[in-house]
Symmetry: C2
Subunit: 325 residues, 2 copies
C-alpha cells in the first residue's frame, strides 16, 4: 500500500483540480482541467476518468498504482452514501449519486466530501493545522465557507450542513441581505464581496478621502485587496473597513471557539492572503470575545497550503479509509 | 458483563448524586450525599467510596457487581488523564488527579468528564436526544453550560473548554458583566440570574405595570419562574423580558447549529422547566437566524431526564469504554 498513489480532486464550478499524492501527503503530480457543466453535468465524471487515464499513460504508470479517488464537491454531501444533495453551477439534479458515478467511470473506490471540509482536512494533515485533531478551517473567498474537525473527524452534521460558518448571523437586525435568504450573515461582511460592499458604503459618504478614495475615484470600483493594501499604508477609511470586518470575524471565531475550543482556527481563501494586517486585527477581537480558558488555548493561524488544500484533503479521505480497513 | 452495574456520580458543590445503573441505562438505585468540601476537598473521593460500599452492603451485593465508576465534575477536565484543571467550590488545588484518587479509593476503574458533558451524554443515551449522534445540550440554570456531541463522541476541545456555550458573546458592546470577566455573555441573559436581571431593568422603569410588577411590589424581588408564569398569562412586561431572552438564546443556538448542524439541540436545567412558553419563542428566533438547510434538519427539544441526566451520562462513560475494550 505504501507505494500507491491517492487521487485528490477538487471540483469547482469552472476548474477541476487533480493531483496524484503519495501516502505521506506529498503531491507527485498535479494538473487541472476545465469543468464542463453542459449535458446536465454528465461530462464531469467522464472527463475526470479520462484525464486520470491520460495522466497515467503520460507517466508510464498502471491503474493499479492508484489506491482510490477522493473528491471535494461544492455543496452539501451525504458522506456515507456519496450523494451530493444539491450543487449550484454544475448542472446536476438534486441528490446526485456522485460517488457511484465516479466509481463506475474510474473503476476506483471513491469518497466524496464537501469542498470546504476537504480544505480543512488538507490543512489538518499537511498545512497550518499541523496534525491538530480539533481544528476549524474558515475559507474567506467570494463567499465564506468552513470545515469543522473534532476528535480527528470531520463534523458533517445531520444533513451535511455543518461548517456553514459563512451563515452565522453576525448582525441580527438590519444586516445586508445574503444569498441564502437571511440577512446579516458573516459572509455579507467577511467575504471579498462583503469587504467591498462595506468599503463602498464608506466611500460613498461625503467626507470620504484618502488612498482608497483615490483608487475608487480613478476606477469607479475597489477590490478587497485594495482595502487591505490601503490599510497597510495607514489609510483611515480602509482601516475603518478593516475594523468592521475584523470585529465580526473575530466575534464569530471566538464564539465558535467558545463552543468547540479547537487547537487551531485556520483562515484560508483569497481574502486570507491579506496576511497579518487582517490576522492581527481579527486576533484583537477574538481575544476580546473568547472565554479566558479558550483564549489561552485556541490559536488563530493563516492557511499554508493555498490552492492545494482541497486536493490534499480529498486524497486523505482515501488514505484514512485505507488505514482503517 | 451484561448483568453488571455502572456507577454514575454527579458531583456538585453542595450535593453528590450517585446511582447504580445497568448496561441498558436503567437506574437500579439512586441516592445522594452532601459534598464535604472541608480538608481541601480530600474527603470527597473518600466519602464516595464509603457510600458505594455501604449501598452495596444494604443491597446484599458484592463489589464485583460494579463494572466501574463514571463521574461528572464541575470544571474543565482532561478526559484522557482524568485530571480536573480547576474547580471552584470544592477545595481542590488546580490540576487535581481526580480519576487516580477515585480509583485508589474505590478500587474501581474510573472515568471523569465535565458535568455539562455528562448531562449531554445522558440526554443522548436515554433522554431527548434519542440516540442522536450529533447533539448539543444546553443547561440553563444559575449559569448556562453546554455539552457538544459530534459523531457520537463528546467534543472536549484542546484544553477541555469546549461547550462553554454560556460564554458565547451575544452582546458585543455594552452587555452586562459576566463572572468570566467578559461582558455580554449568553449566561448574563439566558440563565435564571440573567432573566431576573433583565426583568429588574424593566421593573425599575417608571411606567412598569402588570402582574410581574405586582409580584415585585409585594416581595421586592421576582424569580425567573415568576417571569415565565406571568408571560404565560400574557403580562406585557414579562413577555418583553421573554422576547429579549429568546432573541439571544435563539440567535446563539442558530449560530451553533450553523456551525455543527446537530440532529438535536436539547435545552435542560431549571430554566427549561418553563417549557413551551420559552421553547416556542426560542424556536421563532432560531428559525430566523438558522441557515435554511440547518433550519430544516436541526430540531430544538426540551430535556427529559431532569436531574438524572448527569448520573446516566457519567455511567455511559464506563459503558462506552467497556464496549470498545
Amino acid at each position: 500500500m505504501a507505494e500507491k498513489w491517492l487521487v485528490g480532486v477538487d471540483l469547482g464550478g469552472t476548474t477541476t483540480k487533480l493531483a496524484f499524492i503519495n501516502m505521506y501527503g506529498e503531491i507527485q503530480h498535479k494538473w487541472e482541467i476545465p469543468t464542463d457543466n453542459s449535458n446536465d453535468g454528465k461530462n464531469i465524471t467522464i472527463n475526470i476518468a479520462k484525464t486520470i487515464d491520460q495522466k497515467l499513460e503520460e507517466l508510464g504508470q498502471e491503474k493499479t498504482k492508484l489506491a482510490g479517488i477522493g473528491m471535494g464537491a461544492p455543496g452539501p454531501v451525504n458522506y456515507a452514501t456519496g450523494v451530493i444533495y444539491n450543487a449550484v453551477n454544475l448542472g446536476w439534479p438534486d441528490n446526485y449519486p456522485l460517488k457511484d458515478l465516479l466509481e463506475v467511470e474510474t473503476n476506483l473506490p471513491a469518497l466524496i466530501d464537501n469542498d470546504a471540509n476537504c480544505a480543512a482536512i488538507g490543512e489538518m494533515w499537511k498545512g497550518a493545522g499541523n496534525g491538530a485533531k480539533d481544528l476549524v478551517c474558515v475559507t474567506l473567498g467570494t463567499g465564506v465557507g468552513g470545515g469543522v474537525i473534532a476528535n480527528g473527524n470531520i463534523v458533517q452534521g445531520v444533513s451535511g450542513a455543518a461548517g456553514e460558518i459563512g451563515h452565522i448571523t453576525s448582525i441580527p437586525e438590519g444586516g445586508a441581505p445574503c444569498n441564502c435568504g437571511k440577512t446579516g450573515c458573516l459572509e455579507t461582511i467577511a467575504s471579498a464581496t462583503g469587504i467591498v460592499r462595506i468599503a463602498m458604503e464608506e466611500l460613498k459618504k461625503e467626507d470620504a478621502a484618502g488612498e482608497l478614495k483615490d483608487i475608487f475615484a480613478a476606477n469607479d470600483l475597489v477590490s478587497a485587496k485594495n482595502v487591505f493594501d490601503a490599510a497597510r499604508n495607514g489609510d483611515a477609511l480602509a482601516l475603518l473597513v478593516l475594523e468592521k470586518v475584523s470585529l465580526h470575524l473575530g466575534l464569530a471565531l471566538a464564539n465558535i471557539a467558545n463552543t468547540l475550543n479547537p487547537e487551531k482556527i485556520v483562515l484560508g481563501g483569497g481574502v486570507s492572503k491579506a496576511g497579518n494586517v487582517l490576522l492581527d486585527q481579527v486576533k484583537i477581537n477574538f481575544d476580546k470575545f473568547a472565554f479566558p480558558r479558550v483564549k489561552k488555548s485556541t490559536t488563530l493561524a493563516l492557511a499554508t497550503l493555498g490552492n492545494d488544500a482541497g486536493v490534499i484533503g480529498a486524497a486523505w479521505l482515501i488514505k484514512n479509509k485505507s488505514s482503517i480497513q
